[in-house]
């Protein structure tokens, strides 16, 4: 078992204003899985993603990655280290820094890492080549199309060779054609051995994954293994 969630609950607010975003959620992910977490807006998908990423403490329950119980064994710096080493984030809004070039954006997760500049650049170029953006390395994000920006964001998520890629609505801001390109890229990355966990509210994305988990009102209501066509 690579990633395991045990009875995760998350409650926001207090008293009458209390909101139960997640209720006793549990599932596990193996290395190399491609999981789609789907459900309607406000169902708790993104909250679940942030808890898995070590960004938000659950109200109760455990997140275990590689036999490490994140919120019990790691402090703030430890969780940051976990995100740096285990997690590659892909955001819906790309979240590239506008004043950095594509290459520099990809280099960003390695900024605190103490390895040589040359090695960092080699790794960044490799990540860019994997998403097909080698020729756009020197461009600013504003000079890239939406699809290219998301590819750059995926390269940024890949550059540290993370254990899991967490993608939050990665095609939400893209047109249909570009969306299919990105999904195809995720498929390729999964085939190359990357573990992918994608949050989406678009049911059509589920077909791209190998497993799907449906969440509604903070509860898992369906787990499904999707047969490969």
């Amino acid at each position: 078992m690579y990633l395991q969630l045990l009875n995760i609950s998350k409650i926001f607010g207090k008293g009458e204003a209390q909101v139960r975003a997640l209720e006793s959620v549990g599932f596990s992910i193996e290395k190399g899985d491609y999981v789609a977490i789907h459900g309607p807006s406000g169902s708790g998908k993104s909250t679940l993603l942030t808890i898995m990423a070590g960004l938000q403490h659950p109200s109760s329950g455990k997140v275990i990655v590689d036999e490490i119980s994140l919120y019990e064994e790691l402090n703030n710096d430890g969780l940051a280290g976990f995100r740096s080493n285990y997690i590659g984030f892909v955001f819906q809004a790309f979240n590239l820094l506008p004043y950095l070039s594509t290459l520099e954006n990809v280099l960003l997760p390695m900024a605190p890492v103490r390895i040589s500049s040359k090695e960092k650049r080699e790794m960044a170029h490799l990540a860019l080549s994997r998403v097909g953006l080698t020729d756009r390395a020197a461009h600013l994000p504003s000079q890239l199309s939406g699809g290219q920006q998301q590819r750059a964001a995926i390269a940024r998520a890949l550059v540290n060779e993370p254990g899991i890629i967490l993608a939050d609505e990665p095609t939400g801001n893209l047109d249909t054609e570009t969306r299919n390109d990105i999904l195809s890229l995720f498929d390729d990355l999964n085939k190359a051995g990357h573990t992918i966990l994608m949050v989406t509210h678009d049911a059509s994305h589920i077909k791209a994954a190998r497993k799907s988990i449906k969440i509604t009102d903070g509860h898992i209501i369906e787990k499904e293994v999707i047969p490969r066509i």
């Binding site: 938000q56 979240n95 004043y99 950095l100 520099e104 960003l108 997760p109 605190p112 960092k120």
Partner: protein, 390 residues
């Protein structure tokens, strides 16, 4: 790419705000350094004046009676002091331990005599002086004519010349001795204005007091010299004399400089506080604008200390630049701008390199100090709340 690169790249965003902050810091540092340089120049000027004028010790005959004189006004008809000092005593002053601090010794014999000129008679103050020593002590004297050289040549004060209608080249008699006016002293506002000053030997002869003097003025090089020690040592070798230090004028000047210094420190402190607040508000505003970016940093694995390092490096770079530019602007202000605008009447107005260096280091410390709290608050930004899509 490392954390410093991120700070460097980030510096060139929001250029307007950062340039504004830089200018404010440079102006603050320049003002503080310039004020300090000015106060320091005034202090040095006064020290030089101490050296230059320094008639700062007066030796008079010891007397048990009170001096019946106030503000230069003597009570008419009362003889206040008749004691005199032997001229031969002067040599003892040169034998004291701190004699290297003594710049000039000017003995004086003072008396009154009836002056006869063009048939008009006036009673005048006659002062016998040692010409060369007097010149050293009274370097501010502004004379018309030539300084007396011969035994019968005199210089007279402006008021005395006016009252007795004397001009340069005139001769007059006093107690049967004929004296020639070779120079007239421009008004000094002191008792010198009323005096006829002649070589001391001549006056001793006129007054019938050979080998006698009324008082001795001593000029000591006084910046670092122990004036009280000098007074004590002279008192030891001249036990029958009163030895007093005159410090009032210079002390008043020093008080003025001290007041200017206090005002400068107050202005400097206010500027430092203002500058600190400006840095604080600019950095806080910058962080507020960059919450999402900082959230991304945290989400992709930056620690809190990484975030602080990025923010503080930016502040350090701006502060460093303001330190260099502040020193440069101070040099320009002190050496070019101020001298061309104002007559500062000082030769000591220059930038002290060590103080400039201290100022630059201080502004860097101020920049880092004022950014510390904003940097901590930046490191505590919750990525979940700031990243749009999460």
């Amino acid at each position: 790419m490392n954390l410093s690169n991120i700070s460097l790249k980030s510096l060139f965003r929001q250029k307007g705000k950062k340039v504004f902050l830089l200018i404010a810091m440079v102006i603050s540092l320049t003002t503080v350094l310039t004020l300090y340089s000015y106060v320091e120049s005034q202090r040095l000027d006064i020290e030089n004046q101490f050296d230059e004028f320094g008639a700062n010790i007066v030796i008079t005959p010891k007397s048990d009676s009170l001096v019946l004189s106030y503000g230069g006004v003597n009570i008419s008809g009362i003889v206040t002091s008749l004691e005199e000092i032997e001229y031969s005593q002067i040599g003892k002053i040169k034998s004291i331990e701190n004699n290297e601090n003594i710049r000039a010794i000017s003995p004086k014999l003072i008396g009154a005599g009836e002056v006869s000129f063009n048939g008009i008679r006036n009673t005048a103050l006659l002062v016998g002086i040692e010409l060369e020593e007097e010149k050293k002590i009274k370097s501010w004297w502004n004379l018309k004519g030539t300084f007396p050289e011969g035994d019968n040549e005199v210089l007279i004060g402006a008021a005395a010349a006016e009252v007795m209608k004397l001009s340069i080249g005139d001769t007059f008699t006093i107690k049967g001795t004929v004296l020639k006016v070779t120079s007239i002293l421009a008004s000094t506002g002191s008792q010198d204005d009323n005096a006829i000053m002649a070589p001391i030997e001549t006056v001793q002869t006129i007054l019938g007091k050979p080998g006698k003097i009324s008082l001795v003025e001593v000029s000591a090089l006084c910046v670092d010299c122990p004036i009280d020690d000098l007074v004590f040592q002279i008192s030891q070798v001249m036990p029958n004399s009163d030895v007093k230090a005159i410090r009032q004028v210079m002390e008043q000047k020093m008080q003025v400089v001290d007041q200017v210094k206090k005002v400068s420190i107050t202005i400097g402190t206010m500027l430092v506080i203002l500058c600190g607040l400006l840095i604080f508000s600019t950095v806080t505003g910058s962080i507020s604008d960059r919450k999402q970016e900082i959230g991304i940093f945290r989400a992709i694995g930056f620690t809190k200390s990484n975030i602080m390092q990025i923010i503080l490096t930016e502040s350090f770079l701006i502060s460093l630049a303001s330190g260099f530019l502040g020193i440069l602007c101070t040099y320009l202000t002190v050496n070019l701008i101020l001298p061309s605008l104002v007559d500062l009447s000082t030769e000591n107005f220059r930038v002290n390199i060590w103080f400039a260096f201290t100022g630059a280091v201080s502004i860097i410390m101020l920049g880092l100090g004022a950014s510390w709290w904003p940097a901590i608050s930046a490191s505590n930004i919750d990525p979940v709340k700031t990243i749009n899509s999460l």
